[in-house]
């Protein structure tokens, strides 16, 4: 079983000016790892580019992920590759899903989206609506034609406020947040100036009211590798090679190392190993950003290496 996780592009369609939606499935038709609203996946593209995209589909469909990709003109080529090169039927590498932007339980939500920042909010809105929560969405973008999923959102009626800038100007945050009352959570995703404006507008509200996700440039130090690497077992001194189509876990267990595992999806945390040297390429759903940056632990079922060699405490 090839355990390096890949997704197959099952569909690709334009959904707004400069925005495509990709439908992704397991190449063998298996269930995909479970996720919750606000989660993102890493796509590992040729040349080792790693890009993060929010899942915006339906979690009740376990076989399909959906993401939306804005063409970034000033970007480093990730979105251009997805727009111009990647075809239906081709494969991309997968990391995650991880969720740094979870929907917490509340009776009322105010959602604020700027442009492609609508993507993590789509499943949150579906969920809030399912739960019968009271919610409103303020959704801004340059033009009406650039508001991805605008028509779909129109189906929610007057809870949704589509405010393209060419017709309405900048979003009226004080007006929208004026509807705040105790127990309301505010969720915002979009470009940095919008986040800053929302943070200012929420400054007088109780702590933990506002939840944001920013599209930060990835903090990873280099590209993911697409070539084999070595794993050195510090105690037995053995050095093993991990080919591109095998997981670290499979290589370790084939060599007789006693590494326990369970879910094999980077979720349960059972196959943790201690990293003594080298730089892991984390693809799990368990570690937070600080733990990832520390680089001292990894989950062998899905995570790999950025360096030529990893030394592990086995």
């Amino acid at each position: 079983m090839a355990e390096t996780r890949t997704l197959r592009v099952a569909g690709k369609e334009p959904v707004a000016d400069g925005v495509i939606a990709l439908t992704l499935t397991d190449p063998g038709g298996a269930r995909l790892p479970d996720w919750t609203p606000g989660a993102h996946i890493d796509l590992v593209l040729p040349g080792g580019l790693v890009r993060q995209y929010s899942l915006c589909g339906d979690r009740w469909d376990p076989y399909t992920y959906r993401i939306a990709v804005l063409r970034e003109t000033g970007g480093r080529g990730g979105s251009a590759y997805l727009h111009d090169v990647l075809d239906v039927g081709e494969a991309v590498g997968l990391g995650g899903p991880r969720n740094n932007f979870p929907l917490v339980p509340a009776a009322r939500y105010l959602f604020i989206a700027g442009g492609i920042g609508i993507t993590p909010l789509l499943p949150m809105i579906a969920q809030a609506d399912l739960l019968g929560a009271d919610w409103q969405l303020l959704y801004g973008g340059r033009r009406e034609a650039s508001l991805a999923f605008g028509r779909h959102l129109g189906g929610y009626g007057d809870r949704v406020h589509l405010r393209p800038e060419d017709r309405y100007g900048l979003l009226d945050l004080p007006g929208f947040l004026g509807a705040w009352e105790p127990g309301t959570r505010v969720y915002c995703c979009g470009p940095a100036p919008l986040l800053a404006a929302v943070e200012r507008a929420c400054a007088g509200l109780p702590p933990h009211t506002l939840r944001t996700e920013r599209f930060a440039a990835t903090t990873l130090t280099g590209p993911a590798r697409s070539t084999p690497f070595e794993i050195e077992l510090a105690r037995s001194k053995a050095v093993l090679t991990v080919p591109t189509d095998s997981s670290v876990l499979d290589v370790l267990t084939a060599a007789g190392a006693d590494v326990l595992s369970s879910c094999r999806q980077g979720v349960c945390g059972t196959c943790e190993i201690t990293v003594l040297a080298g730089e892991p390429d984390h693809r799990d759903s368990v570690l937070d950003d600080t733990e990832r940056a520390a680089g001292t632990r990894m989950f062998a079922c899905v995570s790999r290496s950025r360096s030529d060699r990893l030394v592990v405490d086995l």
Partner: protein, 395 residues
């Protein structure tokens, strides 16, 4: 197609004493067997149990993970926000608790629990060579370290095991085991619920961390005590019987104990192999959310499905020599902790407890040998021991 039917009662005392023969009959009868006595469907093969555990969309938990169907019957206690919940309600409690008892939190406990296990082993060995491993080790260790880690007071901890025992009985039919616990349960529940309040819990435990999550808005204040209750409900009896299972396994497989002593790093593998071999949690139910086809059988919407974790963990289709307790086996992928979004959130706690105890014993004891007749404890859900007399041969 109509599935094969069985009139067996998985919850009668013969089957609770020795479920192996029933498990084999169910596995061999087909992918799905109808349990006529309880108007429910049984899954006993690894493939189908694993599939049902991971498919939360079609096999729901919110209608109860016992025989009782919450679509039609009132639960005996307010349902668990974890075990007896589906997404999206399940999301926030699971996320919060996963972080609190996840690998990072457990690293902080490692040294403390190793010291506690060494201390317990020394004390047990000073009391003589023959002990009953169930109370002296399997109960004593979790009851010492786990309530401390949650942060509940000392007083009343003797209520934890009877509460858990009744809770796990209550997932079965209303038989004599449930009746036997019914008299005490109101008092036990009241005690457990009282331990979940913020002001009862110490400031540094899992319980306080759950309340801190409520303060951040990651949970509602109404959810916090129920999440604490989940720890107290699911975190004691299960680890007690898991430890009993691994100690019994070593008492009856001296060659495997030799192996562990030679290679103490195998402690984690040994515990998971014992969880596979014995399956301390034997069964859980799900409820079909739609007509679900398994094999050639259509299980109708709303039907209860009984998943035999213990049978799946000994399915010869998945495991070579499944009845053998064998440290050379890779037990990874067993369903003793479940699988999928409801997989035991405390599995790392259980493993660390077991690793602590086994490591302490392996340093001190050259051989564990049965020293008298062993006795099972019957529970509708748990595979449990009442008594395992053993002689501990000192190194």
């Amino acid at each position: 197609m109509k599935p094969p039917a069985s009139h067996a009662d998985p919850f009668d005392h013969d089957n609770l004493e020795d479920p192996g023969p029933l498990h084999e009959r169910l596995r061999e009868a087909g992918p799905v067997v109808r349990l006529s006595r309880y108007d429910t469907y049984a899954l006993a093969r690894y493939e189908h149990v694993h599939a049902a555990l991971t498919d939360w969309q079609r096999f729901q938990s919110a209608a109860g993970v016992g025989l009782s169907n919450f679509r039609y019957e009132k639960p005996w206690r307010p349902p668990s926000l974890l075990l007896e919940a589906d997404p999206p309600h399940h999301d926030a409690p699971r996320r919060v608790l996963s972080a609190i008892v996840g690998p990072r939190a457990l690293h902080r406990l490692r040294d403390r629990w190793a010291a506690a296990a060494a201390d317990l082993a020394d004390r047990v060995l000073s009391c003589g060579d023959v002990i009953d491993a169930v109370p002296a080790l399997a109960e004593a260790f979790p009851l010492r370290v786990f309530p401390d880690a949650v942060g509940i007071p000392e007083a009343g901890r003797e209520n934890l095991l009877p509460y858990g025992d009744h809770l796990f009985n209550a997932f079965g039919p209303p038989n004599d085991l449930v009746a036997a616990g019914a008299g005490r349960i109101a008092g036990l529940s009241a005690w457990v619920n009282a331990q979940c309040a913020r002001d009862v819990l110490t400031s540094d435990g899992f319980g306080a961390a759950i309340w801190a999550a409520a303060d951040r808005g990651d949970l509602t204040p109404e959810q916090a005590p129920l999440v604490v209750r989940s720890l107290l409900s699911a975190g004691v009896d299960t680890t007690v019987h898991g430890l009993s299972a691994v100690l019994y396994a070593f008492a009856t497989h001296p060659d495997q104990w030799e192996r562990l002593r030679a290679q103490p790093a195998l402690a984690r593998v040994a515990f998971d192999e014992a969880v596979r071999w014995e399956s301390p949690v034997q069964t859980f139910f799900r409820t079909a959310t739609t007509d679900v086809t398994v094999g050639e059988t259509v299980i109708p919407d709303g039907a209860k499905i009984l998943m035999f974790l213990g049978a799946a963990n000994r399915d010869p289709r998945r495991w070579a020599n499944p009845d053998r307790f064998d440290l050379s086996r890779d037990p990874s992928g067993h369903v003793g902790f479940g699988m999928g979004i409801h997989q035991c959130v405390g599995q790392h706690i259980a493993r660390l407890e077991a690793e602590s105890v086994l490591t302490a014993l392996a340093r001190r004891v050259s051989r564990i040998e049965l020293a008298g007749p062993v006795r099972r404890h019957h529970n509708n859900t748990l595979r449990a021991w009442r008594s395992i007399p053993v002689r501990l041969h000192r190194k």
